[in-house]
C-alpha cells in the first residue's frame, strides 16, 4: 500500500507564447501511492491542470515543454519515452477524464465506438469481444439500457450520462492511474454528487489510483485521502485530508478553507482571498503567495521557503514555520 506508483520530481513546465515564457509549473514534487486518491487543489492558473496533463504529455506541443524534472511511473521516467512508447501508457496504464463532458466526446462517433477504440488498440480485442466489454463498462458506470446506449451519439446523452460514458471510456483497459481533471465542475450540483459517488465506488472496486484535480474542497473531502495544494506553479502544502482540513499550516490553505461557503456560519458574506495570482511570465522570486498573504514577512518576498515536515504525512512551504517567525493566530477555520 505504501509503494509509490507515480512520482513527479522537481518538475518544471513552461509555455512559450508570443515571445514570452510562462513558467506554468515551477518545481513540483508529488507522490501517488498505489490505490490512493490524491487531490490537487488550487485556483485556476496554479498549474494543477498543466501538471496533470503533462504526466502523459497531453499539453499542446510545441508551445509547451518540460524544462527539467522527472515523471517516474513504475520506476521508469516517462519524460524519456518517445511519443510511440507513450501511446502504450496512455489509456492503458494512465487514463484521463476531463472537465466538460459536453466537449470531451467526439460528436460524430457513437459512444460505443469511442469506448471500443482503446480496447481494440491496447488489448487487441476483436470487435465482438470489445462490444461485450463495452456493454460491461457501460453497466459498470450505471448507464441504463447499455445495449441501446452503445449505438447512440453524445448529443443523445445528458451531461451526467456523458461524464459516465467518459469514465467508462477511461476505465476501459483497467488503467492503474486515473487522472480526473475537474470531473464535476461542469455538471449540475445533483449530478456532481452522483458522479462523485460513482468514482468512489469504482475506486474501491477497481483499486485504481486516482489523481483528482479540483478547486472544490467539497469534492476533495468526498473522494480523496491525500491533498496537495498548489499555488503559482508550486506545491505549497501537502498532507492527508484530515490534516489539511483541521490543521493546515499554510496561509493559502487557510484562505481556501475560509472561502468555502458554509451553511452555519455567522456571517452572510462569502470570504475571498484578496488579490490576484502571480504573473507566471515573470514569477516572483519569493513565495508566490506573499503579495496576497496577510502574514507576509520581508523574507517571504525575497526567498521561497522549503517544504518543512509538520507531521509524518504533512509538509508545508511557509516561513511562518521557521523558529524565527513570530507567532500568528490562525484564523478560526472549521467549526464543524
Amino acid at each position: 500500500m505504501n509503494e509509490n506508483i507515480l512520482e513527479l520530481k522537481d518538475l518544471h513546465i513552461s509555455f512559450d507564447t508570443y515571445g514570452s515564457e510562462i513558467q506554468a509549473v515551477r518545481g513540483v514534487n508529488i507522490e501517488l501511492k498505489k490505490g490512493e486518491a490524491l487531490a490537487i487543489v488550487g485556483e485556476s492558473g496554479s498549474g494543477k491542470s498543466v501538471t496533470s496533463k503533462e504526466i502523459t504529455r497531453l499539453n499542446p506541443r510545441p508551445q509547451c515543454r518540460v524544462k527539467s524534472g522527472e515523471i517516474i511511473f513504475e520506476g521508469k521516467d516517462l519524460i524519456k519515452y518517445t511519443e510511440t512508447q507513450l501511446q502504450h501508457i496512455r489509456g492503458k496504464e494512465i487514463s484521463m477524464i476531463f472537465q466538460d463532458p459536453m466537449t470531451t466526446l467526439n460528436p460524430t462517433m457513437t459512444i460505443g465506438n469511442q469506448i471500443i477504440e482503446g480496447l481494440r488498440k491496447h488489448q487487441k480485442m476483436q470487435k465482438k469481444e470489445a462490444y461485450h466489454r463495452a456493454i460491461e463498462l457501460l453497466e459498470l458506470v450505471k448507464i441504463p439500457n447499455a445495449r441501446e446506449r452503445f449505438k447512440q451519439y453524445p448529443h443523445q446523452f445528458s451531461g451526467g450520462m456523458r461524464q459516465r460514458a467518459v469514465i467508462a471510456t477511461a476505465l476501459a483497459c483497467n488503467p492503474k492511474i486515473l487522472i480526473a481533471d475537474e470531473p464535476t465542475t461542469a455538471l449540475d450540483v445533483t449530478i456532481q454528487a452522483q458522479i462523485l459517488d460513482l468514482m468512489r465506488d469504482l475506486q474501491k472496486k477497481l483499486q485504481t489510483s486516482i489523481i483528482l484535480i479540483t478547486h472544490d474542497l467539497g469534492v476533495v473531502a468526498n473522494l480523496a485521502q491525500r491533498v496537495a495544494v498548489m499555488y503559482g506553479g508550486m506545491v505549497v502544502e501537502t498532507g492527508t485530508v484530515d490534516e489539511l482540513f483541521y490543521q493546515p499550516e499554510h496561509p493559502y490553505t487557510w484562505g481556501l478553507l475560509s472561502s468555502m461557503p458554509r451553511l452555519h456560519k455567522k456571517s452572510n458574506k462569502l470570504e475571498s482571498i484578496p488579490g490576484t495570482p502571480p504573473d507566471l511570465s515573470d514569477p516572483p522570486k519569493g513565495c508566490p503567495f506573499a503579495p496576497r498573504c496577510p502574514f507576509a514577512m520581508e523574507v517571504c518576498l525575497e526567498h521561497m521557503p522549503d517544504m518543512t515536515k509538520v507531521t509524518d504525512t504533512q509538509s508545508t512551504a511557509c516561513w511562518l514555520l521557521d523558529e524565527r517567525a513570530p507567532e500568528v493566530k490562525k484564523p478560526e477555520l472549521l467549526n464543524v
Partner: protein, 337 residues
Amino acid sequence: MAQPEKKEITADMFRPATVQVEEKEEITTEAISYGRDSMRRLVRNKPAIISALIILLITVMAFVGPHMNEWGVDDQDLMRSNVPPKVTALSKISLFNGVSSDGTDRYAERQIEDNFWFGTDKLGRDLWTRTWKGTQISLIIGFVAAVVDLLIGVIYGGISGYFGGMTDNILQRIIEVLMGIPQLVIIILLIMILKPGLLSIIIAIAMTGWIGQSRIVRGQILKIKTEEYVLAARTLGAKPRRIIGKHLLPNTMGQIIITTMFSIPSAIFAEAFLSFIGLGIPQPQASLGTLIDTGSQIVDTHPYQVLFPAVILSLLLICFNLFADGLRDALDPRMRR
C-alpha cells in the same frame, strides 16, 4: 524547489512586510474602448495595413492618373496603334523600352516622340489614361454597389430580425428562393433588360449582393435579442429605441462593416466578369474588365495590353480581401473564418 541560501536569511527579515493588498486590486492598465481596441488590432495587422495603403495609392492614381498626360480616354490615332510601353527613364527595363515582342522599336519605326507609359491599344488610345480611368470606374462600381447592398441588406435584415414572426417568415422564404438562383445568372438577366452601362451594372450587382448582408444583420439581431444583457435591459424597462440604439446597433455594427468590406471586391469582380462576357461598360468607356477582355484577345502579340489592368485588378481584389480579413479579425476576433 529553489534552494534559498540560508546565510542570507537573517532574523530581522521576519518582520511583517508592508504589502498593500488594496493596491494590488487596482486595475493598472486603463480601460480600452471597443473602438480603440479594434483599431489597435488592425494597426498591428501588417498585411491589412499594407493592403489599405495600396488601395489608397491605386484610388489616388485612378483619379490623378488620367490627368498626368495630355491624352484623353478616347483620343484615337491609328498612326500610333499597338505601341508598346515606353518610359525613357526606365528604358533599361525591357518592359518599358518601347520594343515590341518581335524585336522592333515601334517608337523609332513610326517616329513617335512621346512616351506612352502603358503603351496604346489597337486604336492608338493611350492605355495609361484608359487603365486609370477604368480603375476609377471599377472602384466607383465597387463602392456604390457596396453602399446600396448595405442599405438594402440592413433594412431588409433589420425588419426581418426585429419584427420576427410572420414578417420574418415571409421575408426569409423570399430570400431562400433568391438564394437558390446563382447570383451571376440574376445579374446577367438584369443587364439584359437594363442594357449595359455604369448604372445598370451597379443596379444589377447591388440587387443580388444584399442577400448576404441581410442574413447577417437578421442573424445578429435574432441572436442579440435573446442575449442576456438585452433581456436585462428590457427587464429594467429600457425602451425599444434605447435597446436598438444602445445594444442592437453597436453590436451588429462590426458585422455590417465587415460584410460591406467584403462586398466591395465581389462587386469589382462581378463588373470585371460581366465585361469579360460582353456585358460590361460599352465603348469607348473603359473599365478594368473591358480592358482585360480586349487585351487578352491579343495577349500573344501584345501582352502589355492586358498586363497593367490585370495587375491592378488583382492587386485591388487581393488588397480588399486582405483588408477585409484584417478588419474582421480586428472587429470580431471570435469569428475568424
